[in-house]
Amino acid sequence: MSDNQENEIFEGDEDYVKKPRKGRRGDKEGGGLNINSMMDIMTILLVFLLVTIVSDPLNITQDNYLQLANSTANYDPEDSIPVTITKKGVIVDHKLIVKIDCTTAGGQVCQDEVYVEVGNGYAVDKSFKEDGSESSFLIQPLFKKLDEMVKQLKAENKELGREFKGVITIICDKDIPFRIIAEVVHSAGMAGLSDLRFAIIKGGDR
């Protein structure tokens, strides 16, 4: 086994290597493989993967309930407060803030398997909104949470002597209706976040 391996590796300069090497090592070492080059590749790959994963500021994992829209926009994501709107609810800071209700075209409450169907309606229940009225655009729990975060960030930035920009990145499922986006945008605006960024996937076609 060892002999075969060496023959293959040193095929190019057989005259020079083959005979002396064979004589010196051979059976003494048994199954020692030459895996140095493979190690090199793996180490480089490892470093590359680690760097890409760590440097990604948004780090979005898509699933059935969160499919980003395609776009040709080409701006890099920046450091900001991320708000995720999936088909199931609005998520801030890895916590579900408001549940989103899903109804099918026939008016039924969505079961897990029909969540992704076209024609579903999505809405935030009115009990979460200001005064509990259907027409309100202010989602109370979301506003409270964002307001808290903004105040904290403002205080932090003040200590560090930096300016607070009020940027919010909305990571939004592609089937979420404008109504919910407008509500989230409005709640964020009330909390002092008026510079919106929408996460999209860079696709080839417009």
Binding site: N36, S71, D175, D195, R197, R206
Partner: protein, 203 residues
């Protein structure tokens, strides 16, 4: 250097050439698939949009009538697009751009008929507007409450940059079109159409 017991056991200089890499290898072999799995193969970018100006009191109606020269507005309805602009700049109402059917190749390359928003017509209209008012940068985008986000994203796409041609009628051709570029500070930059997008809430 003094000979350590371990080096003696392994038979001197020749064996010292090769390290026992097996444990490191087994770690790497596990780590790399894990990382590859976590690695996202799509590129996430962002689309910048400005929120409507909000009043402090009754903020339910965002102020759409900021003092702007043109105030170009695109409204997305379930039937198509409506373009509006400040009354003093025009005497006639813009015709609505309705959804229509297009011949678009599907995944297998076969031409199929799809009903789609008329993005090419919208783009052509906006490109003409830009030629008419070259200083305008702002566009308001509003939508009916049930319009899903991907349609809005695609509409914003149509308003943002100038493409190779000023007019498109075919959706397939429009989808493949690349942005027009100009050389700025030594690097190629796309030519902007209406880069400042503002959301409005249509009543």
């Amino acid at each position: 250097m003094a000979r350590t017991p371990s080096s003696r056991r392994h038979g001197g200089d020749e064996a010292a050439e090769e390290l026992n890499l097996t444990p490191i290898m087994s770690i790497l072999v596990i780590l790399i698939p894990v990382l590859l799995f976590a690695f996202t193969f799509y590129e996430v970018k962002i689309q910048a949009v400005n929120a409507p100006r909000l009043g402090s009191g009754s903020a339910k109606k965002p102020d759409e009538n900021e003092k702007k020269p043109l105030n170009l507005t695109v409204l997305i309805t379930s039937k198509g697009f409506t373009i509006k602009q400040q009354a003093e700049h025009t005497t006639e109402e813009e015709p609505k751009i309705y959804k229509r059917t297009f011949q678009v190749p599907n995944k297998d390359g076969v031409m199929t008929e799809v009903e789609e928003y008329d993005y090419p017509a919208l783009y052509s209209k906006l490109a003409a507007k830009k030629t008419q008012y070259p200083d305008e940068k702002t566009i308001n985008i509003g939508a009916e409450m049930n319009i899903p986000w991907h349609i809005i994203a695609r509409t914003i796409d149509a308003t943002r940059v100038r493409l190779e041609k000023d007019e498109y009628t075919d959706l397939a051709e429009y989808m493949k079109a690349q942005p027009k570029t100009e050389v700025k500070d030594g690097s190629k930059e796309p030519v902007a159409l209406f880069p400042a997008v503002v959301f409005v809430v249509a009543e």
